[in-house]
Amino acid sequence: MHSLILAATVLLLALFGYALGRSRSRNLAVASGQPLHSLPTYYGGYVAIWCGLPAVLVMAVWLGAEGAIVRALTVQSLPAALVSDDPDRMALLLTDIRNLAAGSIVSRDVDPALQAAADHYQSLRQTGFASMVVVVLACAMAGLVWARRRVVPGLRARNHVERIILWVLVACSTIAILTTIGIVLSLIFETLRFFEKVPLHEFLFGLHWSPQTAIRSDQVGASGAFGAIPLFAGTLLITLIAMLVAGPIGLMSAIYMAEYAGSRLRSTAKPILEVLAGIPTVVYGFFAALTVAPFVRQSGGSIGLDVASESALAAGVVMGIMIIPFVSSLSDDVINAVPQSLRDASYGLGATQSETIRQVILPAALPGIVGAFMLAISRAIGETMIVVMAAGLAANLTANPLEAVTTVTVQIVTLLVGDQEFDSAKTLAAFALGLMLFVVTLGLNLLALSVVRKYRERYD
């Protein structure tokens, strides 16, 4: 909270620097009669950046390093009786000291030595914060004064500002990329830990999934089975059903919208169709679980079929409805992008509208349509909420859509819901499944891209 006030102060200083730089450049230009190299706003920006950016950077570094330094100093000052060699115990002790200093609940008896350590910790923190305020403000002021002094009509302020903007943009995109890399790396390392406990081939090719591991060795089901094939099969089955629903409906509604519907109908119908994409998936989930699944079960029962109450069919159909707009909206765009001259050419030869669509427009729009389908598939594979609510947990290896199946995403959810120890094969399996999911969707996206590129070469 105090850091926020400090940041706001720096920001105000920077704004002040902006006004200062702008007015000073104007005044100097008038006084000296020399033309300014850049617009006055660039001089303002120059001063503001020199005032704000170094101060904020110093503050960020300080905040990052302060915790570790304060901890190290606290540990040094501890009486020998409290120090132990076990890093886990030390971490626990430090947590207690921190909690005591903050006035929270502490998990051990508070003795004077601990109290003294907490007081010491508290005073270190306060000193640290005070010195940070001083250093940061000094930085900001120094930047302000220095940059203001450098403002002369010949200063190439625009070039400086533009270059710093470039670096800010580079930094932002670097953060995005590094985050992605970090997520992937953490997935990979946890997955490697999982494969230390469960062999890779068992995970990839095992036909039995039962992740319950026992805490004590005498419990029932002591050894979990981590064959992921039933999960992959379940995911594929539900995705297939979803695409069987979304593919034809989405593509055909896109064709209708793009080629047949009048402009007034299109301008109303298209947004309505796209509302489907805006419905929260949890709403689809209970629609699937409470409406579609019982309906499927009853209609199956009335023609003598035995349907599980959490059938793959119900979940797949609802998921298909959810991804219709992905298919239709993107396909509609690519169909509209087919040049009118191709339609004219086909009509000019006496082709009917449906012949033109089938033989000219769809082939020309194919790369985009394939891309739309791939996107829909990767969306279906990664979709979680609908299947959590409607697809069930039983890891059956079956191709029968009337039976209950489970998917990779459902299992990740169940593995991590509730209190878990984070070193058992059961929880680590979630990372392995997550990595699989990531690899598959990434592969699909790459495939979609390459298909699009290949056909684009042929059709342009």
Binding site: S341, R343, D344, A345, L349, G350, E355, Y459
Partner: protein, 267 residues
């Protein structure tokens, strides 16, 4: 049907039958009127050129002749257009049949994103004109030959039509329209996107095609009209100002506006 309308001094032209006939054709885009009462005879085995400044309605008129304006929602056509004495708007002659008889070549070469072979075979296939592969092969070959493209592409019929040069693409489009064996071919500024050499090639081709087809060509270039056509119509501000034999229009027009246009005073 025998020629009526304009007096024709050249007996060879006078003998030509009237293939298509426009009577009081008016076209509206929404409220705006683009064409006013156009009366025009198009003679068989003749190249009729339509010239005039931009926006004068010549392309609009051309698109009326095979009802391509049907595609545009707000477009409304009045008056009568006859093909061999039959109104092209009669219910018995729907656009599929009409456009098989009256083909069209567009301003910009617009081959389908298919192979050269499939481009030419497209029309015969959708109209079910051929039975069997060998007959289709023959139609494709003759059409490409008539369009003067066969020698250049016979070894690469499997390659995409979009990979040809601009002039070749336009000849491919001509081959594509003659593959359905139309009676009339409408050409909407077919050379405006081409270089002079490709243009010369197409103009030669148009002259050759005249023996088998009736051709109507819209062009911006008066030289082109003079080179390829036997009859010329001059459009101005949505009206057909004057129509007559090409040499007469270009040497001794009746109307002052035609005179001004061909001598380059406007347009």
């Amino acid at each position: 049907m025998v020629t009526n309308g304009q007096q024709d001094e050249n007996p060879a032209h006078a003998a030509a039958r009237v293939k298509m006939q426009a009577k009081k054709v008016a076209v509206f885009y929404g409220e705006a009127q683009a064409l006013h009462d156009v009366d025009l005879d198009i003679r068989e085995h003749t190249v009729t050129a339509l010239i005039g400044p931009s926006g004068c309605g010549k392309s609009t008129f051309l698109r009326c002749l095979n009802r391509m304006n049907d595609v545009i929602d707000i477009c409304r056509v009045e008056g009568r257009i006859m093909l061999d004495g039959e109104d092209i708007n009669t219910p018995s002659l729907d656009t599929v049949h009409l456009r098989a008889r009256v083909g069209m070549v567009f301003q910009k070469p617009n081959p389908f994103p298919k192979t050269i072979y499939d481009n030419v075979a497209y029309g015969p296939r959708i109209h079910g004109m051929t039975s069997g592969k060998s007959e289709l092969d023959e139609v494709v070959e003759t059409s490409l030959e008539r369009a003067g493209l066969w020698k250049e592409v016979r070894d690469r019929l499997d390659e995409p039509g979009t990979g040809l040069s601009g002039g070749q693409q336009q000849r491919l489009c001509i081959a594509r329209s003659i593959a359905v064996n139309p009676e009339v071919i409408l050409m909407d500024e077919p050379c405006s996107a081409l270089d002079p050499i490709a243009t010369a090639r197409i103009e030669e081709l148009i002259d050759e095609l005249r023996t088998n087809f009736t051709i109507v060509i819209v062009t911006h270039s008066m030289q082109q009209a003079a080179r390829v056509s036997q009859r010329t119509g001059f459009f101005h501000l949505g009206e057909l100002v004057e129509v007559g034999n090409t040499d007469q229009i270009f040497t001794n027009p009746d109307d002052q506006r035609t005179q001004d246009y061909i001598t380059g005073r406007f347009g």
